[in-house]
């Protein structure tokens, strides 16, 4: 009986999840194993005002349409797109490992492949921004909790601003500020005493700018959650600790952090997932020459006139796999807890 009640309660959510999550994933996986039909080319006469009339190659749309009618999904290519140079680049990797060059040169060659270059930046971004967001959010929450109630409201307002600004707009504003003729660009030049330094021309500095932007943008989110958690802090434990002579740092480490632990896990999880899909800073900072990410790949393949849909679908599937791997430890623990409760 209980199962039946549960089923009826769960049905709306299940339908929504099926419609908006399961079916799109199946569709993307299907698209990623199909490629467009082979182009049928014909020679036709083309006349333009600049060159007069010449014979040129163009696509035979009739034949292409016939091919599409027979097989609308395209031709089945299995995992070819996943293994090609724009994705996992299996053949290129095998060649690199087989070659007799030294490790440093092999390392450079691996990171010359577009997918691994994107993964390099995405992983670096995720595993630098997430912990710093948690730590910074905690510090801000502790600080705001301790200040005088008269200015608390004002400080909270200013602390929340970076998160309120639309990510793309914030990135665009910062793009002009870090330009070599902008305020921040000039400040950095003055600090290191090098008038030719340009943040946008150096890959390392661009990565740092993007990571700082990521931390700056997401810290208020962590702050708000931790601040709410701090309000439920048991005051008697803090007092007892203070009487026993614990320093401020010890109070935080032994009482506040364990109390906030579920919230810290929650924020870390959300940040892991969000940062793995980093995209707006790269577009806003025009940084695609220095840093790319999986999401940027998908955007690049989909937009523009080349529209490589199968490549974009394969990148999407790889992103889903990546996020699953990241969240696997948490899912495992949840499953274990569930098993224990039974």
């Amino acid at each position: 009986m209980r199962h039946k009640t549960f089923f009826w309660f769960f049905l709306p959510t299940a339908s929504a999840m099926l419609l908006f999550i399961a079916f799109p994933i199946i569709s993307v996986i299907t698209q990623s194993v199909h490629a467009p039909h082979k182009a049928v080319l014909i020679e036709v006469e083309t006349c333009t005002p600049l060159t007069g009339c010449k014979i040129q190659t163009t696509i035979d749309q009739e034949a292409t349409r016939k091919q599409k009618e027979v097989n609308p999904l395209g031709r089945f290519v299995g995992l070819d797109i996943f293994f090609d140079r724009g994705h996992l680049a299996i053949h290129e990797l095998v060649d690199i490992f087989k070659s007799s060059e030294n490790w440093s040169s092999k390392y450079n060659q691996i990171f010359n492949l577009p997918f691994y270059r994107a993964m390099g930046f995405t992983i670096t971004f995720t595993f630098l921004v997430t912990p710093f967001v948690v730590i910074l959010g905690l510090l801000i929450a502790l600080a705001v909790n301790a200040i005088h109630s008269k200015i608390k409201g004002l400080v909270i307002f200013f602390s929340l601003l970076p998160f309120v600004i639309t990510p793309l707009i914030g990135a665009l504003v910062l793009f002009w500020m870090i330009d070599s003729r902008g305020i921040l660009g000039n400040l950095v030049q003055w600090l290191v005493n090098d008038p030719t330094l340009s943040l946008k021309a150096s890959t390392g500095l661009m990565w740092i700018s993007l990571i700082i932007y990521g931390i700056w943008h997401a810290a208020p989110f962590a702050f708000v959650i931790f601040y709410a958690g701090l309000q439920t802090l048991p005051n008697d434990q803090i007092e007892a600790a203070r009487i026993d002579g614990a320093s401020r740092y010890q109070q935080v480490r032994y009482i506040v952090v364990p109390h906030l632990f579920p919230l810290i896990t929650f924020v870390a999880l959300i940040q892991l997932m969000d940062n793995f899909r980093v995209f707006e800073p790269i577009v806003g900072f025009n940084a695609s020459a220095h840093a790319t990410s999986l999401s940027w790949f998908i955007f690049n393949d989909l937009s523009g006139e080349t529209r490589q849909l199968s490549a974009a679908a394969a990148s999407s599937v790889l992103t889903i796999v990546g996020v699953s791997i990241l969240l696997f430890p948490v899912l495992l623990r949840t499953w274990k807890d569930f098993r224990e409760k039974k």
Binding site: A35, P36, H37, K38, A39, L41, V44, E45, T46, C47, T48, P49, L50, T51, C53, Q56, T57, T58, I59, Q61, T64, R65, R75, I81, D84, R85, G86, E92, N112, P114, D179, S180, T196, S198, K200, A201, T203, N286, S288, A289, H290, N300, S303, G304, E305, T306, R307, Q308, S310, A311
Partner: protein, 426 residues
């Protein structure tokens, strides 16, 4: 006497009737004679145009919006290549007309989203010249209205200061840039739309054609840029970038022009369509306005072909729309490019292919490009894939992270992957 009594005397009524007649005659005649002010552009269904945003296209867009009878909306943006095909693939399509050029037309034909215009040309295209009609396989697929090319734009006063003639080759441009920097006049005298992506790829294509290179093996889609001409092209681009603002990989035409207007650039290879109105905006210092000059495109490596490409811009009509919408779009765009639209102001904006266009001094560069040996931008169906591969892979080389040979290998590998996926290569 009260006004009530006055109102109904016979004399008063007669006067009123005469007044009424008089006003109706005047009103009726203005209706008759007032109409030609709008050159009679009547349309019966909606029009939605997508295209680029430089001044000549803005003029065409506003010209189309003069038509009465239905809504004419325009979406003119620098990102038009991201939204045009997606916006025309739906059925019914979102956009009814698209401003295209040699390169965009290829992609539109590949995606099969535009319709033949022969019947519309026969019905409404009397003001068009035969040379304006772009024919593919005997069918009119686009109507061209302007020509464009990149050519030299420079500061005549700076070159006079260093005692040098306007460069005719890229080697001369490098020498002039070195002199300007050594004399301390400007730190980064060269400008170029070298933004990673479409712009950088276009610069490569221009420079490679200047070196006399071929892109593909004849009759196939096999890429043939991995040769000494490709290496020479990359070396020249790197040499030029040494004299540019270090942020050049983030600068498109708009940003490069902003640098010129600010007085930071003395030599650049810029689009004719943008050069025309470069210094006529607000806030440009007087010395930049006075020193602004244009010349034809340059050659490179001792070649005879200009290191530039010829482009035409025109419009096409979407396939997945009703015939009424297609007719309305065609009428409004033909109205926008009618010979009457050439005024003193609009004549400056482009090298119009319209009847009655008289070349202005601003058109000197594009005319020089068209009258000397310049090749049109290639319109083969696999060209967008090469353009995209170049745009993605050149940035590493331009930052000095890899050698020219490695860059050409990467470009070829990226192109091959895309061409295999799209079915151009086995």
């Amino acid at each position: 006497m009260s006004t009530g009594v006055m109102k109904h005397t016979p004399q008063y009524m007669e006067l009123k009737m005469i007044k009424k007649l008089f006003y109706s005659v005047i009103f009726g005649s203005t209706l008759l004679f007032g109409a030609p002010v709008f050159a009679g552009c009547e349309i019966s269904d909606r029009v939605s145009i997508v295209g680029n945003e430089f001044p000549a296209i803005q003029t065409v867009g506003s010209g189309a919006q003069e038509c009465k009878g239905a809504e004419v909306s325009t979406n003119l943006t620098a990102d038009h290549q991201k939204i045009n095909i997606p916006g025309m693939q739906g059925n019914p399509a979102e956009f009814t007309a698209v401003i295209n050029n040699n390169s965009v037309l290829t992609s539109l034909m590949n995606a099969d989203v535009i319709r033949p215009l022969d019947d519309l040309v026969a019905k409404h295209g009397q003001s068009l010249k035969p040379s304006q009609l772009i024919k593919i396989d005997g069918k009119v697929m686009s109507v061209a209205f302007m020509a464009n090319a990149q050519h030299l734009v420079y500061r005549a006063d700076i070159l006079k200061q260093i005692g040098v003639n306007p460069p005719k080759t890229y080697e001369e441009m490098l020498a002039a840039a070195k002199m300007i920097r050594d004399k301390g006049i400007m730190e980064n005298p060269v400008g170029g739309a070298y933004m990673a992506g479409w712009n950088l790829a276009t610069e490569f294509i221009n420079m490679y054609l200047g070196h006399g290179g071929e892109f593909y093996k004849t009759g196939t889609a096999e890429l043939t840029i991995n040769n000494d001409k490709g290496i020479a092209t990359l070396k020249m681009m790197k040499a030029l970038s040494e004299y540019m603002n270090p942020d050049f990989l983030t600068h498109d035409s708009n940003a490069t022009n902003a640098e010129f207007r600010a007085g930071n650039v003395a030599l650049m290879n810029m689009w004719g369509s943008r050069a025309a109105s470069l210094v006529s905006v607000e806030g440009v210092p007087q010395e930049v306005k006075d020193g602004f000059a244009i010349d034809g495109p340059m050659t490179v490596g001792g070649g005879s072909t200009n290191a530039t490409t010829l482009w035409w811009d025109g419009f096409g009509i979407a396939k997945n729309i009703s015939d009424a919408e297609a007719e309305a779009s065609f009428i409004s765009l033909v109205h926008a490019i009618r010979p009457d639209m050439l005024t003193d102001k609009t004549s400056l904006e482009a090298v119009w292919l319209i009847d009655g266009y008289k070349p202005t001094p601003a058109a000197k560069g594009v005319f020089a490009a068209a009258s000397s040996t310049s090749l049109p931008y290639p319109s083969l169906p696999q060209q967008p894939l090469l353009h995209s591969a170049l745009g993605n892979e050149l940035a590493d080389f331009m930052q000095g992270k890899e050698s020219a040979e490695q860059a050409l290998n990467d470009i070829t590998a990226a192109y091959n992957g895309a061409a295999k996926e799209k079915g151009f290569l086995q």
